[in-house]
């Protein structure tokens, strides 16, 4: 197996039995166990529909015709594979850590790798889009096992830099020639514009969208006490503050921001999950998987 800091073989071993299901419909090229939008010929009955010219004669339910004197066509659920596109934020703010916790970009990569491994194990396709200030690498979804390693290599090669530009990245995803897919955004979401939220909601019309919000614990808890000059990771602006004076206010502001973000995304039927980098990857994967199976 390829040696990568993003891969934990023991973790992957424990995740091998895990299956991630979607209760929505996805479109795929091969047969899988995710329900397809297409009504096909499988054995699972879906519904009756009145006959229309062009329907195959063999799908007419003659028993129903005998009872109602009208033609009805039987429809069946078709099953297909899942395409999942991981959109990983590689802006400069993701290159941040305090204490022994991993950097946010590393954590995002480990989380994406674990999810991708689980999905590809169940025959689903995985793709990757990295973005910082600009669009980085794009890897279209594929379900072949060797595609997973290309996925990992691209993740490893991603370099953090520039300011966060989620709106641009999501617009780019919306314009990709993708069938209905599962779009998973891994980002610290440090873009404080309404534009980013509205684009996410628009994207939800075509795809299933999940946001894995990754933050360092210090960004939530603000554990500073000494006089400190804080410098912005992306635009290098700075401010000297006495943390004793504003820690409470800071925590209150972050908490409010997280609540608003969660509520806005929930309104847009976007799945949202916050993960701080001190939470184990396995826990984060399981939590996300359970959230998908509601």
């Amino acid at each position: 197996m390829h040696q990568s800091p993003l891969i934990d073989p023991e973790l992957f071993g424990r995740l091998s039995g895990l299956s991630i299901r979607f209760d929505g419909h996805v479109e795929g090229a091969v047969t899988g166990f995710h329900r397809s939008r297409a009504k096909g010929s499988s054995v699972e009955f879906a519904q009756y529909r009145e006959y229309a010219p062009g329907d195959e004669i063999k799908h007419i339910d003659w028993k129903s015709y005998a009872r109602n004197d009208r033609f009805y066509v039987k429809q069946f659920e078709d099953e297909t594979d899942l395409r999942t596109l991981f959109v990983v934020d590689t802006s400069k703010s993701m290159d941040f850590k305090i204490d022994d916790n991993p950097k946010k970009i590393t954590y995002a990569g480990q989380l994406a790798a674990a999810l991708a491994w689980t999905l590809i194990q169940q025959g689903d396709a995985i793709g990757l889009l990295t973005h910082g200030a600009e669009i980085g690498t794009y890897l279209p979804p594929r379900s072949r096992p060797e595609h997973f390693w290309r996925f990992i290599r691209n993740l490893e090669a991603a370099q953090c830099g520039g300011e966060t530009n989620l709106a641009s990245a999501l617009t780019h995803v919306a314009n990709l020639p993708l069938k209905r897919s599962n779009v998973v955004l891994l980002s610290d979401c440090l873009e404080f514009t309404e534009n980013f939220i509205s684009i996410l909601k628009q994207l939800r019309r075509r795809h299933y969208v999940s946001v894995l919000h990754i933050l360092d614990p210090s960004e939530v808890q603000f554990p500073f006490s000494d006089l400190t000059v804080f410098e912005d990771a992306e635009n290098h602006s700075e401010q000297q503050v006495d943390p004793r004076a504003m820690a409470e206010e800071y925590r209150s502001a972050v908490s409010k921001w997280l609540d608003e973000l969660k509520n806005s995304l929930s309104d847009g039927q976007v799945n949202y999950k916050l993960s701080t980098t001190d939470i184990a990857i396995e826990t984060a994967v399981m939590t996300w998987a359970r959230g998908r199976q509601r």
Partner: protein, 697 residues
């Protein structure tokens, strides 16, 4: 505003300590790259101003704390702009009249009124172009500084050196002095006379006389309008109390309660020679007086230095009243019995002896020795004060000579008559001493009297010489049992009195009954009847006893038992016969030599500046130290508060109250503010710590 310890204001430099500590311990900030600066910026904008304000407040509070501490220990004094109206007198002269009488030792808030007055007086000093005159209102007021002075430090030093006294005050004389000096100093400018005293002292102050220029009288109540409750022992009177037993005294003490609250169960003690011998409790209604009576017997070894004391209050020195309990010297009587009898009831001296027994002798100790005529030759008359010849037939020439010398040196001679008397022999031997020549025996009743249908068989005492010292002791002698006495027989006397003789009592028939005479330093009394029941029933009458005692005292020339007490500063007189050359011992133990000139009967002593017991300490060591007199405070000053002011009458007191409120020590308030600031500092620190703890949580 002024300060009592202005040099301590140097401590105000301490307000620089907190900023210096802040600058020295300032930390260098850490540098952290942080993605969520957006939230730091918004939070910082919201909280930084408030936090900075709190920190500045904390710094200011700490600076203020140190400043207030320095301010408080410098003892600030608030002198308002309108203080005593003195601001308008720059350029004139201020006469400060300071009351130093003993009430100024009253302690108010742990500070004597005199100290308060001195602080107030010091605060008046230091005005531009102003001269000061300092007058102490003691009984003889005088200018403390020899002349008016504009030197503030010199005036303040003089004020500081003023000591409290035990005397009263003489504000009238002090004001007269101030007014006269003010009139001389300047007629053009406004001169002020500031009087610092108690409300009682400020009552009815004399106004500046007309034509004395512009003089403003400014009374200042040093008590700041506070009530000045005071209790004082104001008087002690002493009398012998034989009814309580031999040698007993009755002491009646009066205590005044000058306060608006009743004094319940006030402890009171009587001490003799420094030892408490009796105590008690007394209730005194508000603003009234009460009496307390003690009965006490003076021991043989006790000197008689007595003091009444009550529980201490804010003015302690008037809670003690010193006095002497001087036991009377016994009157030594030699009685010559001219008609002794084995039957006691018929003995010539039986009734006399019964009368002079100590328990019934009205507190006067009379020691009597009786002798027969045959033993007179062995007697030393110098051992006696009075010689009594009771129904003595005659005396020898030698005894007559001794008796004459005895009387001329100051002794007393009492002669009573009777059947044994040989008038011719007595007249011959004792003629130079007798008040009148003795004639013959007379029987009161006669035939003519019986014929008038009246009981003329006896004579009665009718005429009393009220001016005589013996009769002075009886308020109304005609109403006493003396007037009821029946005199059956008496001796007639020669109607022409010898020099110095006078009739003290006469019978209703005009015959003299008791006749007295002064012979050089001595005295002689002749009674024309017997001193037993043979010729009269006088001796069984109740008033015979006081008559005999007063007669013997008169003959023995005993002094008033108790010495006269004086008030502080009063001129005391000491009889030279009591003392002679020697020293007087003051209450503090110091001795002062005094010499009397030949012929002086008394010496005047002016050094009565201390309260307590003064005694005579003779140079002749064979003579004992003797009580002289006691000195106590003039209790008329014990009431410190003034009565309610009435319009037009007591304006000064109300003015004083106004002016008082303008001078006030502020260090209490500074300390109070300091504690408030300490509390504020603790609260601010607590708030900052809470934030800090929340920040690091």
């Amino acid at each position: 505003m002024t300060f009592l310890s202005p040099w301590l204001l140097a401590g105000l430099a301490g307000i620089l300590i907190p900023p210096i500590i802040h600058l020295l311990l300032r930390r260098k900030p850490k540098r952290v790259i942080f993605p969520t600066l957006h939230f730091i910026l918004t939070s910082h904008k919201k909280t930084s101003r408030r936090f900075r304000l709190r920190q500045i407040l904390l710094m200011l509070t700490r600076c203020l704390l140190l400043g207030l501490l320095a301010f408080a220990i410098a003892r600030p004094l608030m002198v308002s702009e309108d203080q005593s109206g003195m601001d308008a007198v720059d350029g004139g002269t201020i006469f400060i009249v300071l009351d130093t009488s003993y009430p100024m030792q009253y302690r108010l808030d742990d500070e004597s009124l005199l100290m308060r007055a001195k602080i107030m007086a010091s605060n008046l000093v230091g005005r531009a172009n102003t001269q000061y005159g300092l007058i102490v209102a003691d009984p003889k007021p005088e200018l403390v500084l020899s002349e008016l002075s504009a030197d503030a430090s010199k005036v303040r030093d003089s004020i500081g050196e003023i000591k409290p006294g035990l005397h009263g005050r003489n504000l009238s004389a002090a004001l007269s002095l101030a007014y006269s000096m003010a009139a001389e100093s300047s007629q053009d400018q406004l001169n002020s006379v500031v009087v610092l005293s108690t409300p009682a002292g400020l009552k009815d102050l004399a106004r500046p006389p007309p034509g004395s220029g512009q003089i403003k009288l400014v009374p200042v109540d040093v008590s700041d309008g506070n009530p000045l409750p005071n209790r004082a022992v104001i008087d002690v009177s002493i009398r012998a109390a034989p009814e309580m037993g031999t040698g007993h005294w009755e002491l009646t003490t009066r205590i005044a309660n000058h306060s608006n609250e009743d004094a319940k169960k006030l402890p009171i003690w009587l001490a003799i020679d420094g030892q408490t011998v009796v105590n008690g409790l007394v209730d005194i209604p508000a603003n009234e007086e009460a009496s307390k009576v003690f009965y006490v017997a003076l021991g043989e070894q006790q000197s008689g230095q007595a003091e009444i004391r009550i529980a201490d209050d804010a003015l302690t020195i008037d809670n003690r009243y010193p006095f002497w309990m001087i036991p009377a010297e016994p009157i030594r009587v030699l009685a010559v019995n001219g008609s002794p009898n084995a039957n006691p009831y018929k003995d010539e001296l039986y009734y006399v002896q019964k009368a002079v027994e100590p328990a019934v002798a009205s507190g006067v100790r009379i020691v009597m020795k009786s002798l027969g005529l045959d033993r007179l030759g062995q007697v030393d008359l110098d051992l006696y004060d009075v010689v009594m010849l009771a129904n003595v037939e005659k005396v020898t020439a030698e005894f007559s000579r001794q008796l004459t010398i005895f009387v001329k040196k100051g002794g007393g001679l009492f002669i009573s008559c009777g059947e044994q008397i040989n008038a011719i022999e007595l007249n011959r031997r004792l003629g130079p001493l007798l008040p009148r020549t003795i004639r013959s025996k007379k029987i009161a009743g006669d035939a003519a009297a019986s014929n008038e249908g009246q009981d003329r068989r006896v004579a009665h005492l009718k005429l009393f010489n009220r001016k005589h010292p013996i009769i002075e002791n009886f308020a109304a002698p005609e109403t006493t049992s003396l007037a009821l006495a029946q005199i059956e027989k008496f001796m007639l006397l020669d109607p022409s009195p010898n020099a110095g003789g006078d009739v003290i009592m006469s019978l209703d028939n005009g015959a003299p009954f008791l006749v007295g005479r002064r012979v050089e330093k001595g005295r002689v009394i002749l009674m024309t009847t017997t001193i037993d029941r043979d010729w009269n029933d006088l001796v069984i009458r109740p008033h015979f006893l006081p008559l005999l005692v007063h007669t013997l005292r008169h003959l023995a020339q005993t002094k008033t038992t108790q010495s006269k007490p004086y008030t502080v500063g009063q001129l005391a007189t000491i009889a030279t016969t009591d003392w002679g050359a020697g020293r007087i011992r003051l209450p503090n133990g110091k001795r002062i030599d005094l010499q009397s000139n030949p012929g002086d009967t008394e010496i005047r002593f002016a050094e009565t500046k201390q309260t307590g017991h003064y005694s005579l300490d003779p140079i002749d060591e064979t003579r004992k130290t003797a009580p002289a007199f006691s000195v106590h405070l003039d209790t008329s000053y014990a009431k410190l508060s003034s009565r309610q002011a009435t319009v037009g009458e007591d304006v000064t007191a109300s003015q004083a109250k106004t002016s008082l409120s303008s001078t006030r020590e502020l260090w209490h308030y500074a300390l109070l503010l300091l504690f408030v600031m300490l509390g504020s500092e603790a609260w601010l620190l607590y708030r900052l710590r809470i934030r800090s703890r929340a920040g690091t949580a």
